[in-house]
Amino acid sequence: MSETMTAETADHPGVRPAADEQDRASRKASSIEMQGLHKRFGRDTVALDGVDLDIRAGEFFTLLGPSGCGKTTLLRILAGLEEPDAGSLVVGGKNVTEVPPHRRSVNTVFQSYALFPHLSVRENLAFGLKMRGLPAAERNAKVDEIAEFIKLGDLVDRRVDQLSGGQRQRIALARALVCEPDVLLLDEPLSALDAGLRSQLQVELLRVQKRLGMTFVFVTHDQDEAMVMSDRIAVLNGGNIQQVGAPRDVYERPMNAFVARFMGHDNLYEISARQGDRLTTALGTLTAEDAGDGELLLIRPETLDLLPGEVAGDNHLTATVAERLYRGSHAEFRLEIGDTTLQATVNNRGRHLPEVGETVTVVVAPEDLVTLSE
């Protein structure tokens, strides 16, 4: 970055890639505190059932859950597009619960992008600044700046209907960022894109967020996306927050069966008897190290080792291969132990991959066992 640009940044609190990142983070990022948020639609539909949540300044925070869990309602309350029935919302130390959306320093990237069809790309990008009453010269300067930052290139001079899905997504992002909001909200912004473009834009979005140090609140139903992007994740279900934590916490130590299943775990077993760290389930008795005191045992498929034939030992289970899905980099197995099934994922490192019908020994590491409540 050139020195002139850095100098210029000092008296322009604009979105500039050249800005000193620490400085920017302290200036732009806002924290969010939600307390007791309730929202009901009609008589029977409870969208939010008392949500308390703190989002830290400069954090990439994800609201994760199935459709109807309340994540979108929560995002819309943050945007001001929905008013909570009860509870309070504080953004950057200011109570904004009843502030209408056009007076909140919060901008949204909509799922459908919502680019104005009657305006050019440049006019779309300048819309928020124009509504705030910024003079044309300053608007243009800021639009050029953001176009360079998001690497829009010559897209700025196109018409909206000439853009592809990925391009629209980036314009929608730029249109929100150019307003330099305290908080940026993203409502499943990547869900309409194909897989390749999606992972490319995930990386781009992360890069943008880290460089601006802005608080991002991201909504998705895709747990992989949530894990890739987020500093922290809140998992929602039925209008309630189930768990808040870093991606590794949520994936490796889910607090309950809902979170575990939503994060893609199938190997959940009821604990029928417990003697110290010896846990008995339908699979047999396993030794756990620091498993907690939940009533369900979670075994992550990727922590298992498979040995050919029957091998005796502690935490060794004898199983039959019922199904094998070869995926190149790894293989997924459905194993049967008596009437109970167990999923195992094995990396393909030139080892023997058991065939269907083969008898194998499953090695369970005690330190990878976790218990959780229903």
């Binding site: 056009h102 901008n107 909509f110 919502a114 009657h118 509504m131 705030r132 209907d161």
Partner: protein
């Protein structure tokens, strides 16, 4: 083979239908250029009937009335219908479906019923208040009433075709309610508004029945003039007026269609 025969048959049918629709109009246009005073024998090409029109005070006044009536009523209907159409859009999810039926009703109601009702209504008001003497003002009110449903429906369908999150995006991007109207809603529905204006315009120019019942002695429009003149027999002068009206209405209708097709994605 059979498929081709069928195709040819359908093509022939298509041309026949068009001929059926347009031949009468063509005859009127043709004889408006006839040099002889006849609607039976075409003698020679001439513009004499058009020249005659320009010298006829009554026709010029009727033309002026038609134009003032069409433009004034269309502008009023545009404003009122636009607000109404937006209201229908905003409340489409509530149990107000019957409102939409109510707005369709004037469209399907026979003009004669409409005309008589308007007349009776204006007479009543005039008896009570002394206002609304039959004339251009009553005609404008009557025309506005039948134009509003068309405008409202065009505006409504334009709004329904929009991504609803656009309204939220405008709020999100700091647009106050007034700015949302000026910088988002009006520009977005502009093609629909222009289309609705030209449609209202043609409806007004076309209308005879409702105008007839609400007109005063001084406010004859072209259709009313034609109706009066025709009692003395069809003169080539009438053909010339008809040809001009066909041209005017066709242009307005084509403009209306062109703007209704122009919808940004």
């Amino acid at each position: 083979m059979r498929k081709r025969t069928l195709h040819r048959g359908l093509t022939a049918f298509w041309w026949l239908t068009l001929a059926f629709l347009y031949l009468p109009l063509a005859v009127v246009v043709l004889y408006s250029f006839n040099s002889a005073n006849s609607s039976a024998h075409f003698v020679d090409f001439s513009l004499r009937w058009y020249h005659r029109l320009l010298g006829n005070e009554e026709i010029l006044s009727a033309f002026g009335n038609s134009l003032v009536l069409a433009i004034t009523s269309s502008v009023i209907a545009l404003v009122v219908g636009c607000v109404f159409g937006y209201g229908m859009y905003r409340h489409r999810h509530r149990k107000l479906g019957w409102l939409i039926v109510l707005i369709y009703l004037p469209i399907v109601l026979p003009d004669i019923v409409f005309g008589i009702s308007e007349m009776a209504f204006f007479v009543q008001i005039h008896d009570w208040t002394g206002l609304l003497q039959p004339g251009l003002s009553t005609m404008i009110i009557a025309h506005v009433t039948f134009q509003i449903p068309f405008v409202a429906l065009i505006v409504y369908s334009r709004f329904v075709g929009l991504d609803p999150t656009l309204f939220e995006a405008a709020k999100d991007l700091y647009a106050t309610p007034v700015k949302r109207v000026v910088h988002f809603m009006l520009p977005t529905i502009k093609p629909a508004l222009i289309s609705a204006f030209f449609l209202s315009f043609t409806l007004s120019v076309d209308d005879f029945v409702i105008s007839f019942f609400t007109a005063g002695p001084e406010s004859a429009t072209l259709p009313i003039y034609i109706w009066g003149a025709i009692k003395k027999g069809v003169s080539p002068e009438i053909n010339a007026i008809a040809a001009l009206m066909i041209a005017a209405v066709a242009i307005a209708a084509i403009l209306s269609l062109a703007f209704s097709r122009r919808r940004p994605t």
